[in-house]
């Protein structure tokens, strides 16, 4: 319940404040968002499986975001930022898909 309120609050805050992304963060924010989405769907799946652990969620959320950003940063330094960020998005996308599929099985039993 509080989680949903938090999500809503974050969305509203972003809509109201309308901040601009700092230049240094611009390449990493989209990847971080995708990684956070992955962690969130993973947490939702774990919650439905009855094995949700807040510590695991926090750690996985933070580490997902940090690692994704780190990979993209490393790619940028190596000159393959484009390809690596594409790779990260693909991997996270696959994970999101499988998590959502598990959630769907739970919710719709199909």
């Amino acid at each position: 319940m509080i989680a949903a309120v938090g999500l809503l609050a974050g969305l509203l805050l972003g809509l109201v404040l309308q901040p601009s992304v700092p230049l240094a963060l611009q390449p990493y924010l989209p990847i971080a968002v995708v990684a956070a989405l992955d962690a969130t769907f993973g947490a939702l799946r774990a919650y439905l499986d009855g094995i949700f652990d807040d510590k695991v969620f926090v750690i996985s959320f933070v580490s997902n975001v940090v690692i994704a950003a780190l990979i993209v940063y490393l790619g940028d330094q190596l000159g393959v930022g484009n390809q690596l960020s594409t790779g990260v998005v693909v991997v996270l996308g696959i994970r999101i898909f499988s998590n959502v599929a598990a959630i769907r099985r739970h919710v719709l039993h199909a």
Partner: protein, 243 residues
């Protein structure tokens, strides 16, 4: 320590609630962060131009391709400009050639008697009461006038005198180019008037010859002589322009 004021029996068990609370609060915080970041990213993606989120490598490549396109356009401009110059030059040349040809055509038209002509010159009136001024006299006059530089001549406003003009005697006067002309003969000649006038009045010239047959010659020098008769059109049967 939440137990410090946990005095009511209707309160839920504190320890599990607190653990649950913290988990939910942390999750809510993280989700708030996610929502915030998502909105920010969406907004920046839709607000900024197409190149705001682009990578440096992409931008450099884009710039390079723009540079190349620019250079190509530049060289195209140079090429087209030189083509334009060439075309202008050639059109000027064509213009000049056209004017030259027109002048030539005018000259030839006057020489061949295809058009009328006007200009300074002389008007020679030959009175021939005895009818003894013949074709040979007329031919002499014409030749003298030609020598004096006459550019266009006509007789009696009827016959244009050109290179092919011929004269013949007939009973009452002269036939020129097959057209009968009768006295008094009026010869209009365009050219330098004093020179033309001298060509008829020199000793042994037209005046003297006509005087022997009791005729008179009168030479006027009007400022403007009009030669309006046109020559008979003669298309060559055999001669062709040589290359």
């Amino acid at each position: 320590m939440p137990e410090t004021h946990g005095d009511g029996p209707d309160l839920p068990p504190p320890a599990p609630r607190q653990r649950f609370d913290r988990a939910q609060v942390v999750a809510a915080l993280l989700l708030a962060l996610l929502g915030f970041a998502t909105v920010v990213q969406l907004r920046s993606n839709s607000d900024d131009g197409a190149y705001a989120g682009a990578r440096r490598g992409d931008l450099v490549q884009l710039l390079d391709s723009l540079d190349t396109a620019n250079q190509r356009a530049q060289s195209q401009i140079l090429e087209l400009e030189s083509t334009r110059r060439e075309l202008l030059d050639s059109s000027t040349q064509t213009q000049a050639a056209l004017e030259e040809a027109r002048r030539e055509a005018d000259t030839l038209a006057i020489l061949s008697g295809a058009v009328g002509a006007t200009g300074p010159g002389v008007r020679i009136t030959v009175e021939d009461p005895t009818g003894q001024v013949g074709a040979s006299v007329m031919l002499n006059v014409i030749e003298e006038l030609r020598d004096a530089g006459a550019e266009a001549m006509e007789i009696n406003d009827q016959v244009r005198v050109v290179a092919q003009t011929f004269f013949a005697d007939d009973g009452e006067g002269i036939t020129a180019d097959g057209i009968q002309v009768s006295p008094p003969y009026v010869i209009d000649a365009i050219g330098d008037a004093p020179t033309l006038s001298v060509a008829t009045t020199f000793p042994g010239g037209l005046e003297d010859i006509v005087a022997t047959v009791n005729g008179t010659v009168e030479v006027e020098m009007p400022e403007e002589v009009e030669v309006t008769a046109l020559s008979v059109r003669r298309d060559p049967d055999y001669a062709r322009p040589a290359d």
